[in-house]
C-alpha cells in the first residue's frame, strides 16, 4: 500500500514574503524546520496532490472509490472497520 507519510515536496515553499509579512501566523508554534507555513492551505494542497496521485493509479483509484461507496452505502460504518480493512490490504500486499 502507498505510504501515507506526508510528502514535503508537496508543500508550498516558504517565500521571503511569508517570512517577513506582518501577519498573525496560523500556527506560530510550528516546527521551525517547516518554516512559517500556512497550515490550512498547505494541507489542502497536500490532500489535492495525494488525491491526484491516487487517481493516477487505476487500481488504487478503484479501491478508493469502492471504500467511498461502502461508507456511503453504510456497508462500512466504523473507523475500526476501515482500519481493519487497510490492515488486511497491507498484509495481503506483503504476502
Amino acid at each position: 500500500m502507498r505510504s501515507r507519510e506526508p510528502d514535503r515536496s508537496a508543500l508550498r515553499s516558504v517565500t521571503p514574503d511569508d517570512r517577513t509579512r506582518n501577519a498573525r501566523r496560523k500556527a506560530p508554534e510550528t516546527d521551525p524546520s517547516w518554516g512559517r507555513v500556512d497550515f490550512i492551505s498547505d494541507l489542502m494542497r497536500l490532500s489535492r496532490r495525494m488525491s491526484d496521485e491516487i487517481n493516477a493509479d487505476p487500481a488504487e483509484a478503484a479501491a478508493l472509490r469502492e471504500s467511498h461507496d461502502q461508507v456511503r452505502e453504510g456497508r462500512i460504518v466504523s473507523q475500526e472497520e476501515l482500519e481493519e480493512r487497510y490492515r488486511r490490504q497491507d498484509e495481503e500486499e506483503r504476502q
Binding site: 517565500t15 521571503p16 514574503d17 517570512r19 506582518n22 501577519a23 518554516g35
Partner: protein, 226 residues
Amino acid sequence: MRPELNLNYASFVIEYPPLPPLEGTELSDLFAVIRHTHEFESFRSVNGGAVLESEGVRRVEIDRSKLAFQEAIEGDFESVAESAVALTQTVQSDLHVWQFRVDQVTLRAVVGLGEQHLSAVLQERVLALRREQYAALGNVSLVALRLFGSERGVVPFDWQVEVAPLVADPHFLYLETVIFPNALGGEAESVQNGLRTAYEFLAGNVARFVGTFLPSWQTFEGRRQA
C-alpha cells in the same frame, strides 16, 4: 544608496508588453545564464513561466509579461539592490524585453525601540478613538496604521505605508513602504531608481512621521545618525 535602516525585505514587480510564448528550453537556458551570477536552490516551470527560488531567501517569478523579485534581506540592502538590477538586466537581454514599467517596489523594516508596547502608543497618541469604541469589534489585540498617498515631485509615484507593532512581538516597530512609480523605463537602472526612491521615502518621510508621535524613535534616529 546609503542605507541606514535595517531592512529585512525588498521586492519589486516589473511589467512588460507580452512576449511571444516562451517555448522549448528558453526558460531553462535563461536559468543556466542566471545561475552564473545568482544563487538559487531550485528552478521550475510554472504555467508558461518560471520560478527561481532559494526557499525563504530569494524568489523570482518570470513570465511572458512580468518579472517579480522578492528577497529577505540578510546582508546589506545595497548588495541586494545591485544584485536585483543585474538579474533584471540578464532577463531583459535574454528574453529581449525592450521596454518595461516598474509596477511596484516594497521595502520592509523592523525596528526595536525598547520597552514601549507600540500598539498602545498608536492607540493613545495617534488615533482619536476612545477605548470603549474598540469594544464594538470585540477583543482588539493590536492597532496599526495604514496610509495611502501620492508624491507629486520630479519623480511622481503613489505610495502605501504601514506603521504597525510587529505582530510577533509588539515592542518592535514594523514599517512597510510600497511605492507605485508612474513611469515607463527601458533600462534596468529604473529598478534601482525605484528601490532608491522607496528607500528614501521610508528612511525620510516615514521616519519623520513616526518621530512625531514616538519619542523613542528620536533616540533611535540619534543612534543611526551617529
